[in-house]
């Protein structure tokens, strides 16, 4: 009997319910999309910051063993060794940096290189000072080389001559160690990897590059707070519109409610009819909204972060979106349902 009422109400008021359904579904879709982005944004933003280069530096007054590179790579980080010495170029002292730029590609993405990454690269200031261009011979006393690239970073490299790591190692006679190892660790495991490296090489100092580590964290936090506030605002207006819709619904059915009351139905029982209807409606909207939401999140991921379109089905997000839709729908019903108690059957039946 009870369910006959519920089914009947849903069938007869289909158009009116459609409005409430679409409002709830839009809310569920936005909630799903925002939650999906919320859980994904940290990984995405951190990967954008990878163009900053290293976030961990292993340095030492003496030398850093090359095994540190292997250790860092095994821990899931990108790592590359750098070796520094001084040389004499056209009679003047210059800094020679040894680096394997192919292996260190991930760490040197911000380097602006004109020419090739391999071979003998001149910093842009150094090139200007010694009139070096692509193809000219750098008169390095230790090992003359032909310039294959001009590098510009806005940092120390602009005044250096960058040679392959092995070439500098041969010049210095150092084997098996570097002056410095640069590491790019995944942001969320930064501290763990730092501790691991510091334990393995106590004679070196393993430093976190504070500027990038802090900026990453603060940007991620800010984006999340903004997303969260947006979500709250959206839910408030959805509750609002669903409430107005439901109170109209109750008004419209005041005759039926009056009749039910006259034949002896308790207000609670009548209210529970509405609640059952709302729950069914909310569950349906949550499901529809969830599907729309993950499509939206996939689209945003492709448009903004250029990752291939994919649908992330996270049960956690589905649960959350359903809970939110139910909460919005039930609070709307509660706000609208108060008037059930106020309806007087005698007046309704008289036709007022």
């Amino acid at each position: 009997m009870y369910w006959t009422f519920v089914r009947g109400a849903m069938r007869l008021r289909a158009r009116r319910l459609l409005l409430a359904f679409s409002a709830l579904a839009v809310a569920a879709a936005l909630a799903t999309a925002l939650f999906s982005i919320y859980s994904d944004v940290e990984r995405r933003v951190r990967s954008e910051f990878s163009s900053y280069g290293a976030n961990l530096i292993i340095a030492s007054p003496a030398a850093v063993p090359l095994s540190a590179v292997t250790l860092a790579r095994n821990a899931g980080a990108v790592a590359a060794p750098f070796l520094f010495t001084t040389g004499t170029l056209s009679g003047q002292p210059v800094v020679l940096a040894g680096a394997d730029l192919e292996a260190a590609r991930e760490l040197t993405r911000f380097w602006r290189i004109e020419g090739s990454r391999q071979g003998c690269l001149a910093g842009v200031n150094l090139a200007q000072r010694f009139h070096l261009t692509l193809g000219t011979l750098a008169e390095l006393r230790e090992a003359p080389c032909r310039i294959t690239g001009i590098v510009s970073t806005g940092a120390a490299e602009d005044n250096e001559l960058v040679l392959p790591f092995d070439a500098v190692a041969k010049l210095t006679g150092i084997t098996g160690s570097a002056s410095m190892v640069q590491v790019r660790a995944p942001g969320e495991r930064l501290e763990e990897i730092r501790a691991q490296l510091a334990r393995a090489y106590p004679q070196t100092s393993v430093r976190i590059v504070q500027a990038v580590a802090e900026t990453e964290t603060s940007v991620v936090r800010k984006i999340r707070v903004v997303l969260f506030l947006l979500l709250a605002l959206i839910l408030v207006i959805t509750t609002m519109s669903v409430t107005s819709n439901f109170s109209e619904l109750v008004m419209e059915r005041s005759r039926e409610i009056g009749i039910l009351k006259a034949i002896g139905a308790a207000e609670r029982k009548i209210a529970s009819l509405f609640v059952a209807e709302t729950v069914l409606l909310a569950l349906a909207s949550a499901l529809a909204g969830y599907v729309a939401g993950i499509v939206l999140a996939g689209y945003i991921g492709r448009q903004v972060f250029a990752v291939p379109f994919s649908l992330h089905v996270q049960p956690f997000v589905l649960l959350l979106a359903t809970a939110i839709t139910l909460a919005v729908a039930l609070s709307s019903t509660a706000l609208a349902g108060v008037s059930i108690w106020r309806i007087q059957p005698a007046r309704i039946l008289r036709g007022e």
């Binding site: 925002l34 954008e48 900053y52 970073t153 590059v209 506030l229 609002m240």
Partner: protein
């Protein structure tokens, strides 16, 4: 007569009217707040990203030369001067400390300076590098210094201990840990180092922090090969390279270069955040519009009876439509205005909570939001109104009773 009808209708059933106005106001408020935050979030994030440090490095053009300290305030005469959030001149010399060579860097820690047009502003290391973490205190007086973390542990320096630099005692007020080159340096006030090394009035580099627009295809073009129109557009956009170009013009013996490590990552992050927020804003605006639409549509459905009575008593469709149109427009205007007021407050609140500063909102946003509120309300009222007008009044009236 017409006006009296509208006024009467607004006066009767005030509760329902209030609900409609409130719903329109809520929708408008969310839309306004959202747009306000979105339009400003790029600038806010740009400021946030300044914690990466300086994105421009100015050095002398000739090797082993120096730049005159007195010329530095001229930076504040370039076209994009308001986008320069700070700068830090420095001079580095090697001192013998505890038997080993240590680079000593003289900088402006926190300095007031006078711009060429007479304003007094603050800048220095604290402004340019907000991410610097110090155990202890910043130096405030001459003969005070900061020790980099690596130097401090090697020479056993702590806040309060004394280091001898170039024959004079300096009190260490704090230990600085950045993870970058500063960890291996001792930092003093620039004037102290200039005096002790006989380089008075000279600096060897200036770090500049600027708010820039992420590089796009156009930004990478070579300014030497642009037409004069293109060059003007390029100069009037705050690309990092147009700012370095302008710095080189006001400081003739200098080379200004973007610090690509910083400039690249902030460009990437900024453009991604901009895109993300734009798409979310569009989605939320659609939700707000749907809300206003559905509320207005619902109330119109409710008033089918009224329309039928008017039709039965001889009102033309045009009269009824203009009557309801005027009423909805008034509600839209009122709701829109209330919503804009609330929305602006919300935007400021979001700005204050998230970014600790107010949000700057273009003044066009307020009239635009009100107009949109009215337009959406009218659009929401149209389909049910049209439907009611097309129906025979007798049917509607019988249904009502």
């Amino acid at each position: 007569m017409f006006l009296r009808f509208v006024a009467e209708s607004l006066r009767r059933s005030p509760r329902r009217k209030a609900m409609t106005v409130l719903a329109i106001a809520m929708g408008t408020a969310v839309a306004t707040a959202m747009l306000g935050v979105m339009l400003d979030i790029g600038d806010k994030m740009n400021l946030e990203l300044r914690s990466l440090g300086a994105n421009i490095l100015v050095t002398p053009k000739a090797p082993a030369a120096s730049l005159p300290e007195a010329q530095i305030p001229k930076l504040k005469t370039i076209f994009w001067q308001l986008n320069l959030t700070g700068f830090m001149p420095s001079l580095t010399e090697v001192a013998e400390v505890g038997g080993s060579p240590v680079p000593v860097r003289g900088v402006w820690f926190d300095r007031e300076y006078r711009t060429p047009d007479g304003r007094v502003l603050r800048t220095g290391a604290r402004v340019v590098n907000p991410s610097w973490r110090i155990t202890g205190l910043w130096p405030l007086k001459p003969h005070e210094c900061l020790a980099g973390a690596a130097v401090a542990s090697r020479l056993n320096l702590k806040p309060g201990s004394t280091a001898t630099l170039f024959g004079e005692p300096f009190r260490v007020t704090g230990v600085l840990q950045t993870g970058a080159e500063e960890d291996d340096q001792i930092l003093t006030e620039l004037a102290d180092l200039q005096r002790l090394t006989g380089h008075s009035g000279q600096v060897d580099s200036i770090q500049v922090a600027a708010l820039t627009k992420p590089e796009d295809e156009f930004a990478r073009k070579d300014p030497a090969r642009m037409t004069s129109q293109e060059l003007e557009r390029w100069n009037c956009t705050n690309y990092v390279r147009s700012i370095t170009h302008q710095i080189e013009e006001v400081l003739p013996q200098s080379t200004a270069r973007p610090v690509w490590r910083v400039a690249d990552s902030e460009g990437r992050v900024l453009s991604k955040i901009g895109g993300l927020m734009l798409l979310i804003a569009v989605a939320a605006l659609v939700a707000a519009a749907l809300t206003v639409w559905s509320v207005v549509a619902t109330t119109m459905l409710e008033r089918r009876g009224e329309i039928a009575i008017m039709q039965a008593t001889g009102a033309t469709d045009r009269m009824i439509a203009s009557l309801f149109g005027a009423e909805i427009a008034v509600e839209g205007l009122l709701g829109g205005a209330l919503g804009v007021l609330a929305g602006l407050r919300m935007a400021h609140w979001v700005g204050g909570t998230v970014f600790r500063t107010g949000i700057e909102i273009p003044s066009i946003l307020a009239p635009l939001s009100i107009f949109l509120a009215m337009a959406i309300a009218l659009a929401g009222a149209y389909p049910p109104l049209r439907k009611s007008l097309l129906r025979a009044p007798a049917i509607a009236l019988r249904e009502r009773i």
